[in-house]
């Protein structure tokens, strides 16, 4: 057991560029689920602001920037991505380490929306889904978290065990979009 080699979820699968769209793996840092205790969302938000410079994001929203993000993940749950959570958060919330449990990729380029339109049953065009918006939805058959992190860039998270399927499905959709250009 001492010969195990640490690998990222998409090791050997990415990067990938087809047409004008590319997918790269993101090294997210630590990933922690932060769920406020009953009635403590406000105090948790203040603790987050003090410790990490981000308030608790509202439903369907994400805060922060590359290297330190807080992404809404469901009712009462926010995923803190990047920094190690400050111990002060534990007074107001259940903090659960989920580092290494998620495959995190960045889809970027002209037509990134067209690629996702083939896979995701949510309208992700910029007039509806702006920077800082996030959605828990399906990517083909996978539960995913999709966040717009730039004008032409999305962060996509799926369970680590789904990394190969994620890359496969994105690749098929990217090929389809590129073929019609």
């Amino acid at each position: 057991m001492d010969k195990l080699i640490a690998q990222t979820p998409c090791d050997g699968l990415l990067p990938l560029t087809i047409g004008a769209v590319s997918v790269t793996e993101v090294a997210p840092g630590a990933i922690h689920a932060v769920s406020a205790f009953q009635g403590q969302a406000k105090s948790l938000s203040e603790a987050m602001k003090a410790a990490h410079g981000m308030v608790l994001p509202a439903p369907n929203r994400a805060a922060g920037k590359s290297g330190a993000r807080a992404v809404w993940f469901g009712p009462g749950q926010v995923m803190l991505i990047g920094p190690t959570p400050d111990p002060s958060l534990s007074a107001h919330a259940a903090v659960v380490d989920q580092s290494d449990a998620w495959a995190v990729v960045r889809l970027e380029g002209d037509g990134a929306e067209d690629v996702l339109a083939r896979l995701v049953p949510v309208d992700l065009r910029p007039q509806h889904f702006k920077r800082g918006h996030t959605a828990r939805t399906l990517l083909f058959h996978m539960n995913a978290s999709i966040t717009r992190v730039g004008e032409k860039a999305f962060q996509i998270m799926v369970f680590r065990s789904m990394a190969k399927s994620l890359v496969h499905d994105l690749k098929r959709a990217m090929e389809g979009v590129a073929a019609r250009r």
Partner: protein, 87 residues
């Protein structure tokens, strides 16, 4: 079919899992007696009209949702979190 999640907004039906009638939310007391428990566990209405169902936003935010819909017209008149207040 589209269902409006109280958190995520209007979403495609494929994101949701159907649980059944929303009677689960009205669990009888442990000592309510065999009739109440028989009713709770086994007996279901089959209304032609308005019904309340539990749906799970499985392919989304993971919320349990009470959906009020009409079995005759398929119209969905209300959706609310099964937990009551929003979190």
């Amino acid at each position: 079919m589209r269902i409006t999640c109280p958190y995520c907004g209007e979403r495609d039906r494929r994101e949701f899992y159907y649980r059944g009638a929303a009677v689960d939310l009205d669990r009888p007391a442990p000592d309510a007696g065999p009739d109440a428990w028989d009713d709770f566990v086994y007996l279901r209405d089959n209304p032609a009209g308005e019904t309340r169902d539990l749906w799970y936003h499985e392919g989304g935010c993971g919320a349990w949702i009470v959906v009020t819909r009409n079995t005759l017209t398929h119209e969905i008149s209300a959706t609310e979190p099964a937990s009551g207040g929003k979190r």
